[in-house]
């Protein structure tokens, strides 16, 4: 039986990738962030899964606004790294696991989650930065194949936090019903609090973020009870993307063990968080 080995929640701010790509991780503006990643990276290097699921959103790179799927899943053999306007990041293309993708798709549709299927998809920083947070020096290839799950967090109405959490729970059941005996790492990406536009641009809410970092482990159902309005008000118009962490969390067991967490600001305009959980029974 397949199961989730670990869950990694992390911001996917493009500048984190840029800081790594340009060798700025020792820069005083960045050092604390990358020092904060070190314990998680060390643990992850010792716990390589067979496959990873990355829950993320595209930022006007792989998708435009012609079609705005609320939830989507990639079923491709591989996912090229998108050119976001200044050339693609110099990181490996992402290898897929179509067999697992199709199994997850069928299980989720059977449970009433009608995901849009992406047979071709270029992946942007929303997916590649979390992979870099996990694996700073991938060499020629990322540690394992990846199944992308996409969430619309850019255009209102975003799915509710409750729906994301329920999708995560269905995803967990789908993983555990996979016939292959594989271990799965799941990444929930985005956040934490931030707002990019409007006169409230630059809004950051460390108290909310601290609450979220704690409850994502201990009481995700409470977070799933937050409305869109509360999320936009308290986490900012872009901070609402934290709902993607709930998909990760929902796929994990009720009790998880925290390996490491860290909070840093600012990563460009954003509060950046990382939280790594071991899904194996303690």
């Amino acid at each position: 039986m397949a199961d989730v080995l670990w869950g990694l929640a992390t911001s996917h701010v493009p500048s984190i990738g840029a800081a790594m790509d340009r060798g700025k991780t020792e820069d005083p503006n960045w050092k604390d962030l990358f020092d904060g990643y070190a314990p998680a990276r060390a643990w992850l290097a010792e716990h390589r899964p067979d496959v990873a699921i990355v829950v993320y959103n595209d930022h006007a790179n792989g998708l435009d606004l012609d079609i705005v799927p609320t939830f989507g899943i990639g079923t491709a053999d591989s996912y090229p790294v998108a050119d976001e306007g200044y050339g693609p990041r110099q990181v490996p293309d992402v290898i897929g696991d179509p067999e697992l993708s199709l199994h997850l798709l069928e299980s989720l549709v059977d449970e009433g989650f009608d995901l849009t299927v992406f047979q071709e998809l270029e992946v942007d920083h929303g997916l590649t930065v979390p992979l870099s947070v996990w694996t700073p020096d991938p060499g020629d290839a990322w540690p394992c194949p990846v199944v992308p799950i996409l969430v619309n967090v850019i255009q209102y109405p975003q799915p509710t936090a409750a729906r994301c959490y329920a999708l995560g729970q269905a995803l967990g059941r789908a993983i555990r019903s996979y016939r292959e005996d594989v271990t799965v790492g799941i990444l929930g990406t985005g956040g934490m609090s931030h707002q990019l536009a409007g006169s409230r641009a630059g809004f950051i809410n460390p108290e909310f973020d601290a609450m979220w970092l704690e409850k994502i482990q201990t009481d995700p159902a409470a977070l799933a009870g937050l409305s869109r309005e509360e999320l936009i008000r308290e986490a900012g118009s872009e901070g609402i993307e934290l709902i993607m962490w709930l998909i990760m969390r929902g796929a994990m067991h009720e009790q998880v063990t925290k390996v490491h967490s860290h909070y840093f600001l600012p990563a460009s305009n954003t509060a950046a968080g990382i939280a790594l959980f071991d899904n194996r029974p303690a």
């Binding site: 409230r200 641009a201 869109r228 460009s268």
Partner: protein, 136 residues
């Protein structure tokens, strides 16, 4: 903040997904909703086209003609030509799309943040480094 902490039920979940019949209103916060996206579709499609170097070149050669090609409304074209970032957002631009034009101009997200809040880029950056901005 206290509002949300008290709004979190201690057990179980409560879905409060139906804000109101009207559009969501959070002060100082553009909500990129369906109406906004309808209004901004042509503009956003043009901004999306800047993913390709060829298109970036063609735009730079004749910005107004390129806007016309994408069918922008006159006020959207004006906002683009003037680099009126606030107007672009008001006229339906999504920040992720508008940012593509800013990047072409060598502008950062902190520069845009400064424009949106009436600060210089340095002042905006300093507020972020000091822990970010709060409400009000």
């Amino acid at each position: 903040m206290t509002a949300v902490l008290t709004a979190i039920p201690t057990e179980g979940t409560s879905m409060s997904t139906h804000e109101t019949g009207g559009r969501l209103n959070v002060p100082g916060t553009p909500i990129f909703d369906g109406q906004t996206s309808r209004r901004g579709l042509r503009l956003n499609k043009m901004l999306m086209s800047f993913r390709s170097a060829d298109n970036r070149e063609r735009f730079s050669a004749d910005e107004a003609a390129y806007c016309a090609e994408f069918g922008l409304a006159p006020e959207q074209t004006q906002a683009v030509l003037d680099r009126d970032w606030t107007a672009m957002i008001d006229l339906g631009g999504s920040i992720f799309y508008v940012y593509k034009l800013a990047m072409m101009d060598g502008r950062s997200m902190q520069y845009l943040g400064g424009v949106f809040t009436g600060m210089t880029e340095e002042e905006f950056q300093a507020e972020l480094r000091a822990g970010g901005r709060r409400d009000g």
